[in-house]
Symmetry: C2
Subunit: 334 residues, 2 copies
């Protein structure tokens, strides 16, 4: 099929290409009548503006990118819904890019953005974030860029986060109050700020209750965590664990089954998770619920503010939205 | 920051822009030594080819699009992992677009593709698919396009599906065999081929066991299904239900709680779902597990075949990969 061009419209209507272009862009220089004739024909012939050509001119793609590590986590699914709610209103396309926790992939994606494919970027970084610091810093000077949840502290731009340290503190305190004395914090990567914050909150609660750090410890898990988790639970003899990712929470249920540990009698569990099935699990899972939708919405709102007005300084616009602890049967006192 | 252009490289090295361009594209017309000088400087100055300009020339964006209705469903999360596994190997970016079940949004996205933003499209259509039929037909003539899971029958291109009719037949048969006599098939939209196939399999099992259609019926749910579902379960007096979407399966657990129905004693449930928590639910959920990863992989493999060789006729390449029934406690005979 031949593409309909501005030139073709101009020939058919016996007008200059400049007039056609202005009419399509609703310029006030063109009479109402001519505008309507041009727009009607463009519609009839299914004229599509070429985004590459027009991007070279206008430097706008009406597109924003969302870069996230994975989608099999309800946090990101909800955050994207928050982002899309704002983008839809502004008439922007949202492109979702997955890094699968690889900083190499992350950098390839960021490099792609330098060439003008998108107008702005919302990003939640990989666990190997330190490697991407330079690329992120550079990109943030060229395009509006806003972090949400997983941030890169060193990059000077807006960051939408939740109160990770306080949330972990409250979760740990809850475990202590229902009788746990050997608590394990199951962590994913010490490179992530959110993890370091959660660890900080964990230790704060231990200190406050004067629990020895020898029995209460932080353990790191990679993605294939099942075997390691079984070992840890067996060796560590924890009576309570806090899973700092949704995936790790499911892993604890799997490990408990393997080790024939009864939840919550032998082991109490709290998950940082927005799983919609949390309350239907056996036992129902006590969760730290993160305001994912609101965080996505806040990040997108800031991004569009910066896209609309280039004088908005994103560095001064960070925001923290609190998480909530939902207590369920997985931490029931026996 | 000023963008580094081919012209700037040419000036710095005292070479023509044509030579620079050829050297960057590894042309054999350019000596090894010159190629190295050009590429080293390009690297040093962080030269990025402009994809818009080069797309106008080469008509390739090294990008494929995946269009799906939502991401909060494990089926799509797994399918995307299958797609990305293939794309990564081929050095392509994957852009994910969400339609949120709106055919209007779907059409806006498809229109965007007409202008050359991506090289190929993998799509699982919205529940309002009939409205997009025309746009899909048109696009499939301009770009390689492969359907996965939710297809549009009328569009002549490859379709990667699972055996929906057979899977629903087996699920219904299982419910009958554990004693159900009033079975409800909870469906999402009769516009979707996968739904019509599941309904076909459902009726086939009823006929085979000579169960009356008056007591065993198909009920449609929109997205905000909770209240409607409660009403239906109360009114319909089903002793078994098949939830044809993951979300509807969770809705059944919610409705059962509200109505104080005991699962599986009062009501048995099967879900079409790839939920990783299915076996930890209370009761653990019997599921029709769809080969999402394999379907995504097969769809992407076909797409790249067509991208590599324009003589590949996608219409002759459809494939069906079977689903599996995992029997758990939610259909336990009491």
């Amino acid at each position: 099929m031949e593409n309909v061009t501005i030139r073709m419209l101009a020939e058919k209507l016996q007008l200059s290409t400049a007039t056609i272009s202005k009419a399509l862009n609703n310029s006030h220089e063109i009479s109402e009548e001519t505008r309507k004739r041009v727009q009607d024909l463009a519609k009839e012939l299914n004229y599509v503006p070429n985004p590459y050509a027009s991007s070279l001119r206008k430097k706008s793609s009406k597109t924003i990118a969302v870069v996230i590590p994975e989608i099999a986590d309800s946090f990101f699914a909800e955050a994207i819904n928050g982002i899309e709610a704002v983008a839809q209103e502004k008439g922007y396309h949202v492109l979702i890019y997955l890094t699968h926790e690889s900083s190499e992939k992350e950098q390839a994606i960021l490099k792609d953005f330098q060439s003008g494919r998108v107008d702005g970027v919302l990003i939640s970084v990989t666990m190997e974030t330190a490697n991407s610091e330079h690329s992120l810093s550079q990109l943030s000077k060229e395009l509006p860029l806003v972090f949400f949840d997983r941030v890169c502290e060193e990059v000077a731009t807006a960051k939408i986060t939740t109160n990770d340290s306080e949330a972990a503190y409250i979760a740990t305190k809850h475990l202590i109050e229902v009788g746990c004395r050997n608590i394990g914090l199951l962590a994913a990567s010490e490179q992530l700020t959110i993890m370091r914050e959660r660890i900080k909150g964990f230790y704060r609660a231990l200190t406050e209750y004067q629990l020895p750090v020898t029995n209460n410890s932080v353990t790191y898990f990679t993605r294939e965590a099942n075997q390691l988790l079984s070992d840890t639970l067996r060796l560590g003899k924890f009576d309570g664990v806090i899973a700092t990712t949704e995936k790790l929470a499911t892993n604890v249920y799997e490990a408990a089954e393997t080790l024939k540990l009864q939840l919550p009698k032998d082991l109490k569990v709290i998950g940082f998770s927005n799983l919609s099935t949390a309350r239907f699990l056996y036992p129902s899972l006590t969760t730290v619920y993160q305001p994912a939708f609101e965080m996505g919405k806040a990040a997108a709102t800031l991004l569009f503010k910066a896209l609309k007005n280039s004088h908005v300084t994103l560095t001064q616009q960070s925001m923290e939205i609190p998480s909530q602890l939902f207590i369920r049967n997985s931490t029931l006192q026996q």
